[in-house]
Point group: C2
Chain length 697, copies 2
């Protein structure tokens, strides 16, 4: 897949230029100077030869087959070149040219037309508005980036060209190599999805790195990522995470940034590691590209100085890693050669006068202890230690090590060369303990994710015909909000347990309904127009007798008439009062990129004031439903505090999965709440007391 982009036998540069200041020259120069092994065809009607290569007036004049065309002509001419590509049978095209979606509506239309045409011609497109593609295995540099990265095991893609430039430049400075380098630009056709899948199959790529401002097709992305993550880690920095950032994002690339909650959920559900900063992105890449995954969370820290050791221990404690005590056998072996003042706990402090020899012996012993899954080596450049010699010792021992070895040589002048030695031998070296621990944590977390058993999905067969009928009748009435009785019907169609209830149009009917259901009852106004019923005085609980029913009926209807005079009142709902339980809220929202998203939280102030909620993208796996219940801070309240009985958590999970099924079955639902779902003690189920659905046509 995408073979012609990364390993073509021939490349045409349409818009190749003789002017060294033009991008059309730079690209051709890059292809030639970095030793691309296939045929290269400059296309330029005004030139016979460019950079020693015979030039052709157009694609059709090229004698041989063309696998890849790189287009650098002005925007107005791109469509014509794409047509030529179709005619010539070119199936892979990189459009470098800018001036499309990113410039506004006009450019957007042009891009849309191009996309339609390319699709019709069976042509795959990277770009437009991009820097190009680099593949170090096939020695193809079809970009106008300065320089060719070293070969390596990081596959990189980026929506921002500037980020490509910055990362390349950083990599030159740090001696970091890449397998593939892709500037995605406006993602008219090829997006993160296709690139991730192609890198999955690329033997030289061990870790996939990306910079994204928005992801267009959320479900495709998740499916691809989930698959790729089973074998290769994907690390993405997603920008535009906050409102300010998103504003900058949309003014920049015309991308509509999805809500951050959706991205967080989608990354979690598909195994993608989210870098919180550029520094994390680079830091994680170094570790994943060079080190084996740790077998478990246990970290050994070896240091020649207490301070940095404590900082690393602090960072460890904030992560999912464990600073396991060194077991006796290992401690005894260490004590054989360490001075008595050394600490053989964890961190292992081999103290300030440690030499390279002491480092080497210590590391040797630590590497042999299977209970320690990864090793962090800290070094302060004391007078006693030769940092470069320590680096060589680490390189030597790492050759046969089966666990990740990470280093932090503190300082700059005295450790620069040692760091370079480590990097050149694929040992990650960080400036600060915190960064190293962060990378080790990411590796351990990824390993845990990968080793989880396959997620389970349950299918619930709802009465879709019934629901469809309700929705179409509502649309016919030009409504978008379901009234409570309709919402109940939808839930009933998916076997939710509901409290018994009746609609009463008069006081008399209400009294009758209450006596049929049995006291105590709850009464609620039935109106499609009153959304927040309790705030409007439209809910009364704990009604004990006929007189109270009459009073509530009168109060409620007059309160609504007073506060919201134009609300249509269909009557009052008289409902069984569920004796006791914990109130939780389940919801559906719809994200522009990822589609239906399920929300969970504890009722009332926990959701509204403390914003203590969790999100996942539908469809939910059983594991995701479980995780989102446990993720909220107030989860202990469900498990029961102060000797309370635990709530029926399985019933919540069941309700979440059913709601997810509804969201999947009916894409027309743009918002829904079950509020509250009353959760009884363990084993006794849960009752959907009230619900709200909003649909569009």
């Amino acid at each position: 897949m995408l073979q012609h982009f990364f390993n073509p036998s021939s490349v045409a540069v349409v818009g190749a230029s003789q002017n060294p200041h033009k991008i059309g020259y730079e690209i051709l120069e890059n292809i030639i100077q970095y030793n691309f092994r296939g045929a290269v065809y400059p296309i330029n009607p005004k030139a016979d030869e460019i950079l020693g290569q015979k030039a052709y007036p157009d694609l059709m004049s090229v004698p041989g087959k063309i696998d890849l065309a790189v287009i650098v002509v002005p925007p107005a001419l791109v469509m014509d070149v794409v047509e030529q590509c179709g005619e010539k049978g070119v199936d892979s095209v990189i459009i470098i040219t800018a001036g499309f979606k990113e410039t506004g509506p006009k450019g957007s239309h042009l891009e849309e037309a191009l996309a339609v045409r390319a699709r019709a011609l069976g042509i795959h497109v990277v770009g437009p508005n991009c820097l190009g593609i680099i593949d170090t295995t096939s020695s193809l540099n079809a970009s106008f980036a300065e320089g060719m990265p070293l070969p390596g095991h990081i596959g990189f893609f980026s929506q921002s060209g500037a980020m490509c430039i910055a990362i390349l430049d950083w990599a030159f400075g740090q001696n970091i190599g890449f397998s593939r380098f892709v500037s995605l630009g406006n993602k008219m056709d090829i997006s993160e999805v296709e690139i991730m899948l192609s890198m999955e199959r690329d033997a030289n790529t061990r870790v996939i790195l990306g910079y994204s401002e928005s992801i267009d097709n959320g479900p495709h992305f998740m499916e691809a990522a989930r698959r790729v993550c089973q074998t290769k880690p994907i690390i993405i920095i997603k920008s535009g995470t906050t409102s300010a950032g998103a504003k900058a994002a949309s003014s920049h690339t015309g991308a509509l940034a999805g809500s951050d909650n959706a991205y967080t959920a989608a990354f979690k559900q598909s195994g993608v590691i989210r870098a919180k900063s550029m520094q994390d992105l680079f830091g994680y890449a170094m570790a994943f590209a060079t080190q084996p995954l740790p077998e478990g969370p246990s970290v050994a820290i070896v240091t020649n100085s207490g301070g940095p050791g404590i900082l690393a221990a602090d960072a460890c404690d904030r992560s999912s890693l464990h600073l396991t005590p060194i077991r006796k056998e290992t401690a005894d072996r260490l004590r054989e050669f360490l001075p008595p003042t050394a600490a053989v706990y964890n961190p292992v402090d081999i103290i300030g006068d440690a030499t390279e020899e002491r480092y080497e012996k210590t590391l040797e012993v630590i590497l042999q202890d299977d209970m320690l899954h990864s090793v962090l080596i800290l070094l302060a450049p004391t007078a006693a230690v030769d940092a470069e010699a320590v680096a060589y010792s680490i390189v030597k021992l790492a050759k046969n090590a089966d666990k990740p070895i990470i280093t932090v040589f503190m300082g700059e002048r005295g450790v620069r060369r040692a760091r370079r030695i480590l990097q050149d031998h694929s040992i990650p070296s960080y400036e600060y303990p915190e960064d190293a621990i962060s990378a080790m944590d990411a590796m351990a977390s990824y390993r845990r994710w990968r080793e989880k058993p396959p997620r389970q999905y349950r299918h619930f067969k709802g009465d879709t015909g019934k629901v469809r009928q309700i929705f179409s009748s509502i649309i016919k009435q030009h409504r978008h909000d379901l009234i409570e009785s309709e919402a109940r019907e939808v839930l009933r169609a998916y076997q939710f347990r509901l409290p018994e209830n009746r609609i009463a149009k008069t006081t008399k009917e209400a009294v009758l309904a209450a006596s049929e259901i049995g006291y105590p009852v709850v009464m609620k106004i039935a109106s499609p127009d009153v959304l927040h019923k309790s705030d409007m005085g439209g809910v009364r609980v704990g009604i004990e007798n006929d007189a109270q029913v009459e009073e509530a009926f009168f109060d409620m209807t007059s309160s609504i008439r007073l506060r919201q005079p134009d609300a249509r009142i269909l009557g009052v709902m008289v409902q069984e009062m569920i004796p006791q339980g914990k109130e939780v809220i389940l919801g559906i929202t719809r994200d522009m990129q990822f589609g239906p998203m399920i929300m969970f939280g504890l009722g009332g102030i926990y959701v509204e004031v403390l914003k203590d909620v969790s999100f996942r993208i539908a469809p939910l796996s059983v594991e995701s439903a479980d995780a989102m219940i446990r993720e909220i801070r107030s989860f202990p309240l469900l498990r029961g505090v102060r000797g309370e009985a635990p709530a029926d958590i399985e019933a919540i999970r069941d309700a979440l999965l059913r709601l997810s099924q509804i969201a999947i079955d009916f894409p027309e639902i743009i918002e829904a709440d079950i509020n509250p779902l009353l959760v009884c003690p363990e084993g006794q189920g849960a009752v959907a007391v009230d619900a709200r659905f909003t649909i569009h046509e």
Copy 2:
């Protein structure tokens, strides 16, 4: 203060050695080779001359006055040298020698004896177990560190010698200069406190940087820091913040790490900026040492690439900074020369083909806009831009700028020289946007802190005699926990409002008490041994009549007898039932380093399950009390949600201040809770319903 440590006219090195591999040689060498201008006296009974300086057998043989003695003799000989110092009239001593507190109880005793003797002789001591002191103004390098830092404006102190070495080495690499450099070691005498105060008066120090593992005298530290922060920023990285870190800390230096909550509170209350990582420590130092403080929170971002701009905007949004929209006048001026596709919002995107000229013009305009308080300049090394020329433009414009200018030149190879130009001209340059924003945020926050009006303290005159009497009677009874009636007396002595109540020893007395107080009432078991009364069935609320009183009396006493047979039951307390209010919890705990600490949180699960609490060190200022109320996540519940009346926040503040007064007046209180304080609606006060005190002798 400490003048002889930083600017002595003469220095003696006791233990000066002729062996270049010994620390006693290195220190002498450092003093001489870095051009210390005063007299230098090597002390060594076996040498006539070391490094060209006449050596003396002991301090007494030195002809002139000695301002500073640096001691590097073995630990057993240190005491003798200190005695000599006393005799010779040396008032300032650096003990480099290790082998004291950090090695265990024996070393600890030795150090204690030294401290007592030095104090008696009027000698101030830095160390033991330290690297020494450097002052770049007086050209004194009385340390065994390798190299002499550049002169600069950062004053640094560290409890860890290795951290000193690492930071010096880092500074050499980054061309960062220092005014003073102090390795504190075991802090036998001179601690952070004296160093901060001396740096406050040092004209060359603009920012004070520190690494601390523990702070021994919390109140002194806070007082000094609060004062120094009024004129100079103090940035500290406190390690051992987590349990794992603290364990490493105590095995390393024998320091007892205070609880992290106490440090957080103390730093907040005294204006100290806490660096969360080494990277922040360095990053903040660069900005504070070179740039003016911003007038306000508004940041302008100038960038030649969208991606990094978005990342910076994201980071901004997570900070206290504002990404203010560029106002029309400024935007119009920018549009005069920027290309039409440039974005004159904020970030100002001067796009990928920006040259150094465009950068310069843009920065010029931005600097003139008073609404923008600081500027962040981002640069991706595109082909169009000469990064070094941009650096020179920034340097030029910064000369007359009155606002902070911070830069991020992304990448490495293509920007390395430009970064160095910026650093050499005191323009902070960061690798990643996130770090730059973090430093700018720290500057804006510090400025806010400094501009706050002086904190107000209120003194409450409690009936201390009464409380003292209660406490001594309890101690006489060999108790530590107050029973409820005693706790009420303490609160009453500080004018807390309490519910009316009576102790009843019999059912009959209980009925009488209830009828006197008036129904409904609350009943609670009165026992010094039952601490969690409600969990033990010892509390009953909403008692409406005589019969219920009788029943409750019986149930309660038998329940306690059953569950806690050895509990002494003094009777049952019958209490006025406070009709309604919000339950909050106020508490006192005692921190080993900082003394009494006041806690605040919402009652019940908010404290117990959600851990939603705030802390401050006593005595509380009015502002601190206000801040700690507003800091908890559940604060909106106090302000009132869903149309509820707001709670009486002033009454909470008053209660916090009174409790702080109690904590200060009675250091013997090691723990106390007012739980709950029932807070009535605004203007109606608060009632201390229940309280618990634990005291020691």
